[in-house]
Symmetry: C2
Subunit: 453 residues, 2 copies
């Protein structure tokens, strides 16, 4: 099997084969492809072509492709089946983590219908309890399939268990060791199992150093733990310390990427998880809320400036620097909030309190504020603008920079303490607030300074 580039040429090839009803050629090609690549092809076919393609697959490949394909295509494909068929032909053949992932995309009604139709009652019961975990916790990500050995077993018994259970567990890296009450006490890697004597007791060869999470551990925390300790699989225990599941690194990688993408999109003023291939209307809807916030900010700015209309008529040069002041406030605010949001996400903020962090930000702001103010002062003096204007712009600029960094630091910290995702404070929100703040400071100071000098 080769990795195949899913490109326009391949998609056109498939479409031609479907047109000419060359289903043998389709199926030969699919047999050489990984499920992930097949899923990418499906996402670019018509409904009817996708159905024909799925029908050309071997049953075990169908299961794998179903898990990999995008939600709309999966929904369309499954809508041709009854809950009984979905349960016993598809869900029953999936690992529990994949099954829960697919089930959680259904409405509660359909989800419970499907689980209720499973002929394997024990599996149904497991899936039902798995679907009850909050989707931001370890419980919702874990698979219950794992290899477990009791501490009083021998190595040979443990290997026999792998032989018996191994078929149900896709990738085995370690065997978890529990006490008779099912409480996790350690692990043994397959490597050490191979190297140990068959009659050795597990108690003598197992590793007590095992890092685990609880079913209620937050997904971000388990991602940080996996990353920090370089794990490939993480056991999950319940409140009584009993081993109930495991989370594999591939799911953690997906979490890390999704969280990063989400923060990035919030920062850029996009509210939903979209990508460039989504429909125009979905892309537009994901962006509109932030644009409306920007619009409200702009209207508020306009009302504020209106109050200073007389000043603009006397000193129209004040208006020249409005965009500069507003933009600088926005830029500084975004920088400060980004550092805080990233620090919270990566758990690298250190442990000092909010006041100390804000003081530190003020020191950073002072350095950059002084440099920027001096640059603009020299510019204004060099280009023969009035001294009043030069002084007003420079003092306003440094004031705006300091206020913007305090706000940019404080708002995400405050949101985090209120248990609201601090990432919503970045991007358009902070830019808009600081635009407005900048204009207010500029004109208030301007009136005062023009009257003073």
């Amino acid at each position: 099997m080769e990795k195949i580039q899913v490109d326009n040429a391949l998609i056109r090839q498939f479409k031609t084969w479907f047109n000419e009803n060359e289903l043998k050629l389709v199926s030969d090609q699919l047999n050489q492809m990984y499920p992930q690549d097949i899923a990418m092809v499906i996402d670019r076919l018509s409904k009817e072509e996708a159905r024909l393609l799925m029908n050309s697959l071997q049953k075990e490949t169908v299961i794998k492709v179903l898990v990999e394909m995008d939600e709309p295509a999966r929904e369309i494909f499954l809508s041709a089946f009854t809950p009984f068929e979905i349960a016993n032909e598809f869900i029953d053949n999936m690992n529990s983590d994949d099954a829960v992932y697919v089930l959680n995309h259904f409405s509660t009604k359909i989800k419970e219908d499907v689980i209720g139709q499973l002929e394997d009652i024990e599996y149904a019961s497991k899936l039902l309890s798995l679907t009850h975990y909050d989707e931001n916790t370890a419980g919702s990500l874990m698979a219950v399939e794992l290899i477990k050995a009791y501490i009083n077993w021998t190595v040979a018994q443990c290997i026999e268990e792998i032989r018996v259970q191994g078929e149900n567990v896709e990738s085995i890296y370690v065997v978890y060791v529990t006490d008779p009450l099912e409480r996790l006490v350690g692990l043994i890697t397959l490597k050490n199992l191979i190297l140990a004597k068959p009659d050795a007791r597990l108690a003598d060869v197992y590793n007590k150093e095992v890092i685990s999470v609880s079913t209620s551990t937050r997904v971000e925390d388990l991602a940080n733990i996996t990353k920090k300790y370089d794990l490939v699989v993480l056991p999950v225990i319940d409140a009584l310390g009993r081993l109930v599941g495991r989370i594999t690194v591939d799911d953690v990688v997906d979490v890390i990427k999704e969280e990063a993408d989400e923060d990035y999109q919030l920062m850029s003023g996009i509210t939903e998880d979209v990508d460039g291939t989504d429909k125009v209307i979905i892309l537009a809807r994901a962006r509109l809320p932030w644009l409306l916030i920007g619009l409200m900010g702009g209207i508020a700015s306009s009302r504020f400036i209106e109050m200073y209309e007389d000043q603009i008529l006397i000193h129209p040069e004040m208006a020249f620097f409005m965009p500069l002041i507003a933009a600088m406030g926005g830029n500084v605010g975004v920088q400060s909030s980004a550092i805080v949001v990233q620090g919270l996400a990566n758990d690298t903020l250190g442990t000092r309190n909010i006041a100390q962090k804000i003081l530190k930000e003020i020191r950073v702001a002072l350095i950059n504020g002084i440099i920027c103010s001096v640059v603009i002062l020299l510019y204004n003096l060099a280009f023969n603008n009035s001294t009043q204007l030069a002084i007003t712009v420079s003092i306003a600029l440094i004031t705006v920079i300091i206020f913007a960094s305090v706000f940019g630091t404080f708002i995400p910290l405050f949101l985090n303490r209120m248990n609201i995702d601090p990432a919503i404070a970045t991007g358009p929100f902070i830019t808009t607030t600081n635009d407005l703040l900048g204009i207010a400071i500029y004109f208030t100071l301007g009136r005062f300074l023009y009257n003073t000098f």
Copy 2:
């Protein structure tokens, strides 16, 4: 061993122990901690405390902590040793990927000195060739330690090889199968090795489906491959198809996180990799370049507005909406560029050409532009602003939104084609460009429309 929370209390505890010279207590505590946590403690101690701590560790723990600690602390610690000691006491005991990671933080001179002092000439030669790979390629991330078996071996021979080589290879998940010319032909998982009969021939039980990368594969591409195919380890082959190394998922996770953080910071106008715990001067320096770009943009805006001074004096209300127009241009530009940058990074842009993508962005911009323009038109009419102003603002707004999305889409695509990181196009760069663009469009249109209506 327990996961220990590295918090202020623990750091204070260590500092007290060092003050009172209670090195036994320090070493007892350290024995219960993971290297990753010890490294976090070191990053918050003084130079002298860090030295004392490192001296309290067992030698094999020192090696692990050295790889985990931050660069400044590592440099300070190693500066007390000669190149010969660094080579044979530390580097010689590291896995090749860790050794290369540490060596690549030295200057070329010290790096070559240290490698030259290694008593293990064979390892020195391996490390030397590893340090020559470009740091953005698979070659620089791979470890040469791996378990390899020839296809004509039996399962028992393969297990014997694990026994012999296993000590050098930290985590073993699979054994790679090669032909007599060392070319990678497949793999066998440890699970299947355990389940196979000892006298079975590898040729009969190995798995031909193996996804590999070449030494020159770009780091982003191998991250995408690992994520897509849910791999925990990825073999690396040279141009002749020979197996030369392997990359483990923990290193790939680090790459994914670093790339995401870097894009996030560029988007927020921060040029260097910094976090909230860095020194004030470093934080200030990382942000200043973008602020200066914003300042230049602001100055350019002011020159532009100055040309329209007469218009502001006749119609001061034009000035009220300047910040709104500039901010909306900036917001839309960031949204468009973020979608493109993320699509390029995740390889989800699809395969349509630049012109088609820009056309799609224009359609998104038209929808949101029309909505925003209507909102602001209704506002202006409702609040008794002149019809001229109302029409000017609305027409300028939709024009700015369309231009901003075209620029936001085009610039990162263009940079990418020029092999420049498209992420630098996001954030302050696009905001500044679009601020300026917005002001220009607004006043040019304004003069025209005021004269027309």
